[in-house]
């Protein structure tokens, strides 16, 4: 398929970390079904390290691949490092995404951050709210 890189297809066809974590320490869900993409990420965090991560995604091939790649990239990493995950890093790790699919990588970044925010909130850890921009509309999806 010329549409997606081999990396994307690999993560789409064999997504890593699919599933839920019943007793997650942080859960984040972004996107909406109207836009056609929803990602939900579950984190298990131990000593500020992400010991386990799972995701559920409703969306296109690149959405699933981005979720898979993003979860791989933060698994086993300290929370501080996961906070630095960018959509660009996801895109690079996937060997690129078509221009009109870049929003999927943005969603993946946001889903990770939303889960981390949930973890901070639940554990009353202080953070700078600016680190977690809202995703109230789908406007950025058009990017």
């Amino acid at each position: 398929m010329a549409l997606y890189s081999e990396k994307v297809m690999d993560h789409f066809l064999h997504p890593r970390n699919v599933g839920e974590i019943a007793d997650a320490d942080g859960v984040g869900e972004v996107g909406n079904a109207v836009c056609g993409d929803i990602m939900k990420i579950y984190l298990k965090i131990d000593n500020d390290v992400i010991t386990d991560v799972k995701f559920n995604t409703f969306g296109c091939g690149s959405a699933i691949a981005s979720s898979s790649m993003a979860t791989e990239m933060i698994k086993g990493k300290p929370v501080s490092q996961a906070m630095e995950l960018t959509n660009k890093a996801v895109v690079t790790a996937l060997d690129g995404l078509p221009a009109h699919k870049l929003h999927c990588s943005v969603l993946a970044e946001e889903a990770v951050k939303a889960a981390l925010k949930d973890y901070y909130d639940k554990n009353h850890i202080a953070y700078d709210p600016k680190q977690f921009p809202d995703c109230p509309s789908c406007a950025h999806c058009a990017g």
Partner: protein
């Protein structure tokens, strides 16, 4: 197994179509405008092709203008009616919300030029009625353009009846018959059609060629200016190989229309019945007035592109919405037009069959599709919310 079930996007050329094309590349390669024998042989082949297409539509050869495809034919038909209307101060056009973009975008362009466009609502079964058309016609209506059959959901419009309404009110009637030609009976006289568009590659003919029928009283506006080809209505050296091939394909399709329709619709019905077993799914379009090859479903809780890609891994070529809107983030305007909510419209699957598909392929589709739907649902947070009762099912 490899199953090509995307015949509404494009078909594979038939042996007949390829065989008709080759001599035009090797022997009859002349320019039909040339006076010499090689050119005049091409001119004769061109005329014969025009007569064949005319015969298949029930019109005269001179009422056929060859174009580069369905889109160009749609554009030219609509602009023609607009120009004629404008000259009489009539700048209102009626169409439907679920036309192909070749129609809708041309209408958008006209709106910018001061035309008013009424897009009729489409009933949830994918139908538009003659009564709706009659009610929408105004004093200043210059065109009604309603597709013969929808490319995504396969519903077939009551074209003859809509044509009759238009004729009675003296309004030009165009139909985009790109999905109908070669598959459904067409007779422009009986069906009161003033203009009709078709495209070669939808009935096992070649790509890059189409035809516009326009009743002989209608002076076509020129989209492409230049030489005097096509009676001065469409410039450019005629694409003879493609034109001849399209005519052969249309002839073949029309000659075998009934048997093909019987075969293909049996496959279709089996496929629809089987896929309907998938819970929280729904067929799109009308149960009865449906293209023989069209199977269109929405599956709640999943997204179409990932479904397509997984089916592709199993050798199944299908589409979600129409081919030309893939790559777009918006769900199909057709599915929205028949009232599917966005979240459901995203989960659509179109399988479009031809007479080349087999019973064994249908069995394969019925075996492979349900587990893929289940797999994607298992991964879908939307589906989980539905199952857990957090959200309620729409289908």
């Amino acid at each position: 197994m490899q199953v090509y079930a995307d015949n509404a996007a494009t078909t594979k050329m038939s042996r007949t179509a390829i065989a008709a094309m080759l001599p035009c590349m090797e022997t009859t390669y002349g320019n039909p405008s040339s006076l010499h024998t090689v050119g005049q042989r091409a001119a004769e082949a061109l005329l014969a092709a025009r007569e064949t297409v005319a015969d298949c539509l029930g019109c005269e050869a001179r009422e056929i203008t060859f174009t580069s495809g369905g889109s160009e034919a749609d554009n030219q038909a609509i602009l023609t009616a607009a120009h004629l209307g404008e000259a009489k101060g009539k700048k209102h056009i009626i169409s439907t919300a679920f036309e192909h973009h070749a129609v809708l975008h041309t209408l958008k362009k006209l709106e910018k030029q001061g035309f008013t466009v009424t897009l009729l609502d489409v009933h949830e079964n994918g139908m538009v009625t003659p009564e709706q058309v009659a009610a929408a016609i105004r004093e200043d209506t210059c065109l009604v353009t309603v597709m013969y059959a929808n490319n995504e959901i396969g519903s077939i419009m009551p074209i003859a009846e809509i044509g009759a309404v238009c004729r009675a009110k003296g309004v030009l009637f165009h139909t985009d018959a790109v999905q109908a030609a070669g598959h459904l009976h067409i007779n422009v006289q009986e069906q009161n059609i003033d203009m009709l568009s078709l495209s070669g590659h939808k009935f096992h003919g070649p790509k890059g060629v189409g035809a516009l029928y326009a009743r002989k009283q209608i002076p076509l506006s020129t989209l492409i200016e230049g030489g005097a080809q096509e009676r001065g209505k469409r410039a450019g050296t005629e694409n003879l190989p493609a034109i001849v091939s399209m005519a052969a394909a249309l002839r073949e399709a029309c000659d075998h229309m009934e048997e093909n329709a019987a075969k293909v619709s049996a496959l279709r019905d089996k496929l629809i019945a089987g896929l309907s077993q998938i819970p929280h799914s729904a067929v799109n379009g009308d149960g009865k007035h449906r293209l023989p090859g069209n199977v269109s479903f929405c599956f709640e809780g999943i997204e179409g592109e990932s479904l397509l890609l997984l089916l592709d891994e199993k050798g199944i070529c299908a589409s979600s919405g129409s081919a030309c809107t893939s790559g777009s983030l918006d769900p199909s305007h057709v599915l929205l037009a028949i009232g599917r909510p966005h979240e459901v419209a995203h989960g659509s699957l179109r399988l479009s069959l031809s007479e080349e598909n087999t019973e064994a392929e249908i069995d394969y589709l019925l075996r492979e599709i349900p587990p893929v739907v289940a797999y994607l649902r298992e991964m879908s947070p939307v589906w989980k919310d539905l199952v857990s009762g957090k959200k309620s099912f729409l289908l």
